[in-house]
């Protein structure tokens, strides 16, 4: 019996690893290409053994528009996340700890705003942004991204606040903690992990957003999503350099994503799947 279950496990291992390898392969292949010379990158048959070079990374780092795009991505993602947190934390706190008759419908209404397809409001947003000079600005994208993610963040924070053990807060109250003390010494440390993972999910979603960034930015405020899509090299061949730029663009978010799988499920399904 032991032997049979061992074989079963071996076969499962084989099948699952084939699936995982196939799925990861495009990412892996891109990362490999980033260490090739341009000639090697387009060689047929594909080069599996080659002289690795860091040249592409050096070239990409020297390009002003890459650095600019990377800075924009960081500024926009962090800015939008902070703005959304500032709006979402008070709202989620109020709804989780002081629910009223309207709480449930407010929450559902907020979620439903997330279901408006961006393409449905592309025209007015574009015209509004044009009239108030927000096209191709970081501020413009920060506002859009904060609004875009706000419902998910309120929702996630709400579920995290709900999980804070009420007994601890009550004990504090009985011990005479003021409301300010209760917030800063009890609630803040208890809910910090939840707030952190909400922020992480927001950064991932902002970083990878590619509808508004492609439509509302041209050069100055273009984040990495837009920069990559217009990538070209003056020297002609550019796959290896594109791969290096892409690898740099996805690496941090891949790590964040791996760290926040659970929140992702919770946040993107609005708790409908547990």
């Amino acid at each position: 019996m032991i032997k049979r279950s061992f074989y079963k496990k071996l076969i499962l291992t084989l099948v699952a690893w084939i699936a995982a390898t196939v799925m990861f392969f495009p990412v892996f292949w891109m990362m490999v290409a980033s260490f090739k010379t341009e000639i090697d990158a387009v060689a047929t048959p594909p080069m599996i053994v080659f002289n690795p070079t860091l040249e592409n990374y050096a070239t990409v780092q020297q390009r002003a528009n890459y650095i600019n795009a990377a800075i924009n991505s960081v500024a926009i993602s962090v800015g939008a996340t902070l703005l959304a947190l500032a709006l979402a934390i008070p709202a989620a706190y109020a709804m989780a700890f002081f629910p009223t008759r309207r709480t449930r419908s407010t929450l559902l209404w907020m979620l439903s705003t997330k279901m408006l397809p961006p393409v449905g409001v592309l025209v007015p947003i574009y015209l509004l942004f044009r009239d108030i000079d927000l096209i191709d600005t970081k501020t413009g994208l920060i506002i859009i991204y904060a609004l875009m993610n706000l419902p998910i963040m309120v929702w996630l924070l709400y579920t995290f606040f709900k999980e804070v053990p009420k007994d601890i807060l009550e004990a504090g109250r009985i011990d005479g903690a003021s409301r300010r003390q209760e917030l800063f010494y009890l609630l803040a440390p208890l809910s910090l992990p939840g707030i952190a993972s909400t922020a992480l999910l927001s950064i991932i979603l902002c970083w990878n957003e590619a509808f508004w960034s492609l439509n509302l930015t041209t050069s100055d405020a273009a984040p990495l999503t837009a920069f990559i899509s217009s990538f070209s090299a003056p020297e002609g061949l550019f796959w290896a350099k594109l791969s290096a730029a892409s690898t740099l663009a996805i690496a941090p978010i891949l790590l964040f994503g791996w760290m926040s799988q659970r929140q992702l499920v919770r946040g993107l399904t609005f708790g409908a799947v547990k």
Binding site: K9, A19, V119, V121, V123, I125, Y126, S229, S246, A272
Partner: protein, 293 residues
């Protein structure tokens, strides 16, 4: 007990109002503008053309064969990617629910595509995998003795479906895996004791349990797939011809390339209506699970 359950009285209005207000603005203003523009003659290139158009934009849009091609393409894209991600996602979720060597690492690798930004994945597929001359797929087909296929030229929609499915399969897998893991183990054990084979187990225990998770995946993915844009812009630009122009891309062409605000807005209204049909069911499902706690 009154002392124990004493709760602070807090005025929650100032805490909730900012979020509600900005979301209301974010929803109502553009929505109202889209509706308004859809009844106007409005072209950015020609300011002379203006005024109330009535249903003209809708009439000309509905008479335009491009709209119907785009609607059909949207439907094909959404349905195909849904089919691929849900079927493969369910199979993979069952697989990754089993114990095997290196499961943690394999799981990290398989969900990676979801965190790759759409423009990067589109370019990797276009240049390094599907390219008819230097692409890896072309190399593989040639070494098997076949002609290399120009995927994006001859099978454009299939290629887009492949790219989007690759990105979203991890999403389906993650959600369905989470759902399977909440399955009652005692029930599984009891069924196994009763002699249920793996297929019967899947058919009568796992699948019914996954019903809600699958419907959630379908609804959320539908809302996202209605607006697939970056993948098309980067790989085919909606072509060849209109072969990969979906509703989102058509609106983009009308608005930002042809500056026809009226027609684009009418298209936008159609997109909103389509998404709302799905959203209605999604909100109902969420509301139900909210009640269950």
């Amino acid at each position: 007990m009154t002392a124990l359950t004493k709760t602070r009285r807090v005025n929650t209005l100032p805490l909730i109002t900012p979020s509600v207000l900005v979301l209301l603005l974010w929803m109502v203003v553009p929505l109202a503008m889209t509706l308004w523009f859809s009844f106007q003659r409005y072209n950015l290139l020609n300011p002379q053309i203006k005024g109330f158009a009535g249903l003209e934009n809708y009439k000309s849009l509905l008479a335009d064969s491009a709209l119907w091609t785009a609607m059909l393409n949207t439907l094909v894209l959404v349905a195909s990617v849904l089919g691929v991600t849900v079927v493969l996602g369910t199979m993979l979720a069952v697989l990754f629910n089993q114990e095997f060597f290196g499961r943690g690492v394999a799981r990290l690798l398989i969900i990676a595509p979801f965190f790759v930004m759409p423009t990067v994945s589109a370019l990797v597929w276009k240049n390094m995998l599907l390219h008819p001359v230097n692409g890896l797929v072309a190399f593989l087909t040639r070494s098997l003795g076949f002609e290399a296929v120009d995927w994006l030229g001859n099978w454009p929609m299939t290629s887009i479906v492949m790219i989007v499915s690759w990105q979203w399969l991890p999403f389906a897998l993650l959600i369905l895996l989470t759902a399977i893991q909440s399955l009652d183990h005692e029930q599984m054990e009891a069924a196994r004791m009763d002699g249920a084979g793996p297929i019967a187990m899947f058919r009568f225990i796992i699948l019914p349990h996954l019903k809600r998770a699958i419907s959630v995946v379908v609804m959320i993915e539908t809302i996202f797939f209605l607006s697939v844009f970056a993948e098309i812009l980067v790989t085919t630009s909606g072509g060849p011809g209109l072969a990969t122009t979906n509703l989102a891309f058509l609106i983009y062409i009308r608005a930002l390339l042809q500056y026809d605000v009226g027609a684009a807005s009418a298209g936008g209204v159609i997109a909103i209506v389509l998404a709302n049909i799905v959203a209605f069911f999604l909100v109902r499902t969420i509301a139900r699970s909210l009640e269950e706690g």
